[in-house]
Amino acid sequence: MTNELISQVSQEHGLEVVFYGQIVFIGARWFVIIGAMFLTLWHAESVKAVKVNLAPLAFLIAANFFLHARYLMDLPANATLLKLASALDLVIITLIVLFLNPGGLTGINNPFFVFYYPVVLAFSLVFTRQRTIVYTAAAILMYAAVCLLRAPGIHLNGDEELFGIRMITLLGTALLGTMYWRIQRARRAAAGALSI
């Protein structure tokens, strides 16, 4: 009986964390969308390029409208849907880094890797530390693959330092987010305990 109660409370707590936290996901995704739209339309030169760039973005915009509307209607997305959406964020940002090449800047020189930071931060503020580390590792691996496979690659002429700084700061962002999440969890528990 006690175990069942503990399990039910745990599940409810997990759902609550996901429900309250999903607004930060939605906010982070709007920033990625605004950034990508802005960068696609600014200096747009060919109709074909704009169409190609907008196709994945349209999907992301529709998905975020759906999630935002559910949030506003107090119908939270479940954790699985949120994880899927987060995975989609990583894929879209990686596609942006792969195919949006301002001034012909590709691979490690592409400047749009910065969009990884808000989505990794949002994930770390909602999910557990283990899941955050897995998610951040996935982001790092995807970005590393883009840097290695796309020209000019990573050479030992300063590129490795550039790549190192980016990965350290991305990992730092995730770890600091998860550290704050744990502090807040302890504060909530303390607030409940003190009141009792």
């Binding site: 964390v17 920033f31 950034g35 910065v114 330092e161 550039l162 700084i165 980016r166 600091l176 009792i196």
Partner: protein, 219 residues
């Protein structure tokens, strides 16, 4: 599969109430600042350690090396002082925390400027620095700090050496948008947590009232 949330071991409180030497009522320091400043201190240690390693690993200009080492040493000493204050459960005045965060931004900006503005390699350090103060400071202060960071980086980019080329404005906009995005996400989460704690306290208060009313009725 990881353990469900409720069955994890209880978190150690950063500042247990009985050991609190400066309760909020007497010092006027917000709870967010008191509990969150350890995140800022941790971020600063990360910045100091990684910047020091990278500085020694690849520094070809003597000015950059000297300014870098002196700047990092200054930050490390200040951070040590803040960290010991937290470990000894003493209060740090909010002004010092604001000043330290401002100094972080100033050092990152100085390094960016020394490395040629928009061509600087250290600009990603802005992201953890921004996220930390946005998680801890009040919304108005966060907006002021973020506005300052965005303006400072835009000015540094405009002063780049060699100057920015056509198309680099896109690069600049992407970086500034990501800074604003990180600040927004962190600031919004702080408000979400504030609301959740308020709801818990309200619910507990209502429960206490209901119990008291019931006890009064039965007696």
């Amino acid at each position: 599969m990881s353990k469900p949330y409720g069955t994890r071991k209880p978190q150690r409180l950063l500042i247990p109430p009985e050991e609190e030497r400066c309760p909020e009522s007497s010092s006027g320091i917000s709870d967010d600042l008191r509990y969150g400043q350890i995140v800022i201190v941790a971020a600063r240690w990360m910045l100091v350690l990684s910047a020091f390693v990278l500085l020694l690993y690849r520094s070809d200009k003597i000015n950059e090396l000297v300014f870098g080492v002196v700047g990092l040493l200054g930050i490390a000493v200040a951070n040590f002082w803040l960290h010991t204050k937290i470990l000894r459960k003493q209060c740090v005045e909010p002004e010092w925390v604001y000043l330290a965060s401002g100094a972080d931004i100033a050092v990152i900006s100085l390094m960016t400027w020394l490395q040629g503005g928009i061509w600087g390699r250290v600009f990603p350090y802005y992201y953890p620095a921004v996220l930390c103060y946005a998680l801890v400071f009040q919304s108005g202060i966060t907006m002021f700090f973020t506005g300052t960071v965005v303006a400072a980086y835009a000015v540094l980019a405009a002063m780049s050496s060699p100057p920015m080329q056509a198309g680099d404005d896109q690069v600049l906009m992407a970086r500034l948008l990501a800074i604003a995005g990180v600040a927004f996400v962190a600031g919004r989460y702080r408000l979400v947590e504030e609301g959740r704690r308020a709801r818990i306290q309200n619910a507990q208060h209502a429960l206490h009232q209901a119990i008291e009313e019931r006890e009064t009725l039965t007696t």
